[in-house]
């Protein structure tokens, strides 16, 4: 990838079109560029009022948000690029940094007129000016916005804006992005000024960032600057060898408690809403295939999607709060050593954590990992984390086979299942780093930003973004798979091909049941019969569908809402010889299977999107199903040896 953009964007020609009327004024793109944590999101919010749509850029799979702003005589499109440290250093194009680079290069190739609006944290001016120099050397047309005016002044320092602008020969504005109106007005003025500029001196590329920063940042009150910063004081506790990990564990516990305690009532509410809609539709469409297809096939799938929304939103908000506050990097610092044992680093920590709610946003979050091998390993391991979709099935199985045990035993089994997910992830990572993704990786280099109070509007925007992305990417897959599975579970096999009696319920004569029976010899060693096999086929696309499918098989309506009657039927189920169909061993094997198998088409689709190949999603399906079968077999056998009935 060449860091040098094509000629139409050269700084020597920024005056092109400057005198055109608004009718003919050409398209202008404003690319918002800056280091991660430089205050880019706040500035984007201030400039656009938070309004955003996802831009469509060939070759770029990451959501680059854009919005139109008014520059007086013309409109401009502001594109919010992922964080970027350098445009010279070599990076993998699929990471966040690589995406930003590709975007700048592609815009240049298309010959777009583009202003690069660089956001610099004024408290780390020299660092930002390095990137400014690279941008100017690459002949980009740059406007600099120095943020954190309030923090700088709080430290007893100020920025000589005029001197800085002269030195780099580009407009510079110094703002406090929390003052939204002032920021928007001054940045837009600077953009207009840059568009109207007729020439540049051409000597601006040769400044020394460190020396220049030392010259333009003026010490007003040396006593204040010498004081220990709030960040240093906070780090003394939060990164303390003893207290740090304790605080970290508490924060993580609170986060998961929030995801489950807050999301649960909201999910029930969504479920109730979808249930109501299904009932209405059934009344309206009457009985029959079409009604069943719409109510069970389509709305059932949509209900699944909606049920996950609260968790996704809460998790994104929590993650965004951690990231915006600066604590996330501290978490990575604390767990890096642990993750390195597994061939990963502190950077993998966020995706692995997110994977405990849903693998789909977690796989997208791997873009913060700079190293391609580490990123791939994390993508391949994330599906093993205990996502919230596993919970309904765990609850059904535990409720069915461990009903007689106390609440503590049941809670204990849940905890064991969570750790089983983490453990399987660790083992998979260890194996993968020694096989499929072996090789050296870049060691950890992670910025530790200053602690800051997150901005509510920015957090809200991110939450909305991830919810809509989930709805779009995952929603479509789940609804489609749900429709296909409806067909498999409904369409009957010809009488000659099925062993089920003609008067048996429709599902027993269905294509899925035929496949389930055909699979019985394979799954018998695990204690599964054809009914569980059909449940597994039903949950191939989305694992939470297991409960609903088992409900259909056992003729229990609305099993997803109240699994108790289904539990009873499953306990009472008999084999042909009259023995109970399922034992505790079957339950343990089934739980083990669900811990490992990647029964989630949305995850597979996300992996395909992020790795841009069908090889890796196929690999994930293959390795998780083979491992799930092997472990379930092992659990069934060991439980038998231990005398579990």
């Amino acid at each position: 990838m060449s860091p040098t953009p094509a000629p139409p964007l050269r700084a020597e020609t920024p005056n092109e079109g400057a005198s055109e009327s608004s009718a003919t004024a050409p398209f202008v793109r404003v690319a918002l560029v800056g280091r991660p944590n430089s205050g880019k999101s706040s500035l984007y919010n201030a400039l656009t009022g938070g309004d955003a749509h996802v831009g469509n850029f060939p070759g770029i799979t990451v959501d680059v948000l854009e919005s139109e702003i008014d520059l007086g005589d013309r409109k401009a499109t502001v594109s919010d690029l992922p964080g970027l440290y350098s445009i010279d250093a070599v990076v993998d194009p699929s990471t966040d940094e690589g995406v930003a680079r590709t975007f700048l290069d592609r815009a240049a190739e298309r010959g777009e007129r583009m202003l690069v609006l660089q956001v610099i944290d004024a408290t780390q001016l020299a660092l930002g000016l390095r990137l400014t120099r690279e941008l100017l050397r690459a002949k980009h047309v740059v406007v600099v916005v120095a943020t954190q005016k309030d923090v700088l002044e709080g430290d007893g320092r100020s920025l000589d804006v005029a001197q800085l602008a002269r030195a780099i020969d580009a407009p510079v504005v110094h703002v406090n992005a929390r003052d939204v109106d002032d920021t928007r007005r001054r940045v837009i003025d600077a953009l207009k000024e840059r568009l109207a500029a007729t020439r540049t001196s051409g000597i601006s590329e040769d400044f020394d960032p460190t020396a220049l920063a030392a010259r333009v940042v003026v010490e007003r009150d040396p006593t204040r600057a010498k004081r220990r910063s709030p960040t240093a004081r906070a780090d003394a506790v939060l990164l303390h060898p003893a207290f740090g990990p304790i605080v970290f564990v508490c924060v993580m516990t609170a986060l998961f408690a929030a995801v489950f305690l807050v999301a649960d009532p909201m999910t029930s509410l969504m479920d109730a809403g979808v249930g109501l809609a299904r009932a209405r539709l059934s009344r309206w469409l009457g009985e029959g295939l079409l009604a069943s297809f719409v109510a069970d096939g389509v709305l059932g799938g949509a209900g699944t999607v909606l049920a996950f929304m609260p968790q996704i939103v809460i998790l994104t908000v929590a993650m965004e709060l951690m990231e915006a506050s600066g604590y996330l990097a501290r978490g990575a610092f604390l767990v890096d050593r642990l993750l390195r044992v597994l061939g990963l680093s502190g950077r993998s920590f966020l995706p692995l954590l997110m994977g405990h709610a849903c693998a789909v946003p977690a796989i997208a979050a791997t873009r913060i990992i700079r190293d391609p091998r580490e990123r791939l390993t994390t993508i391949l391991v994330v599906p093993l984390m205990t996502c919230s979709a596993r919970v309904p099935t765990y609850a059904l199985i535990i409720g069915t086979f461990f009903a007689a045990r106390g609440a503590w035993t049941k809670a204990g089994i849940f905890v064991v299942l969570y750790f089983a997910g983490i453990l399987s992830g660790l083992v998979a990572s260890l194996v993968l780093r020694r096989s499929a993704t072996s090789g050296r990786t870049l060691p950890l280099v992670l910025e530790m930003p200053q602690y800051r109070a997150p901005q509510a509007r920015v957090v809200a925007r991110k939450a909305w973004q991830s919810a809509s992305r989930f709805f779009r990417d995952v929603g479509t897959v789940i609804v489609a798979v749900s429709a296909v599975l409806w067909a498999l579970l409904t369409i009957p096999l010809p009488a000659s091909l099925t062993s089920a009696p003609p008067d048996a319920p429709a599902i027993e004569r269905s294509v899925a049941a035929g496949v389930g029976r055909a699979l019985e010899p394979v799954t018998k060693p695990l204690g599964f019969d054809w009914r569980i096999n059909v449940g597994l086929i039903g949950s191939f696309g989305a694992r939470e569908v297991m409960v609903g499918t088992m409900g259909v098989i056992f003729g229990v309506e609305d099993a997803s809402d109240d699994p108790a009657p289904l539990s009873e039927r499953m306990r009472e189920a008999k084999r042909a010889d009259g023995a109970p169909a399922y034992s505790t061993r079957t339950a343990l094997a089934l739980l083990a299977f669900f811990v490992i198998a990647c029964q989630c088409m949305s995850t597979v689709a996300a992996i395909r999107r992020e790795t841009k190949s069908i090889r890796w999603p196929a690999f994930v399906l293959a390795y998780t199903y083979i491992a799930a079968y092997a472990v379930a077999l092992g659990v069934h056998a060991i439980a038998g040896m231990m005398g579990v009935s």
Partner: protein, 92 residues
């Protein structure tokens, strides 16, 4: 997904009379004299402020050989893997 080549990221350290960043005690600072790293990695580190001629202050070290928390002369703070710090030669 593209992967980087399999060549070693660390180059062989040829100077034995210099200290490295991993050996600097917390609270102390040192001047970077050389980076025994692949050019790509060195260039990226330079871009973030950990390059030759920069003064780096070590703030703390994570337990059990974990990363080192450093502050660069331009004010950025970074967590860097200890193995990487060993490849950064320094003098007082």
């Amino acid at each position: 997904m593209r992967t980087v080549g399999r060549r070693a990221i660390y180059l062989k350290v040829t100077f034995s009379n210099v200290s490295d960043l991993a050996a600097i005690a917390p609270g102390e600072s040192a001047l970077v004299t050389e980076l025994h790293l692949e050019p790509d990695v060195a260039a990226w580190l330079h871009a973030v402020g950990i390059g030759m001629g920069e003064r780096i202050t070590v703030l703390r070290r994570a337990a059990f050989g974990g990363p080192i928390h450093v502050r660069t002369s331009v004010g950025g703070e970074f967590a860097i893997a200890r193995s990487l710090a060993r490849a950064i030669a320094t003098k007082p």
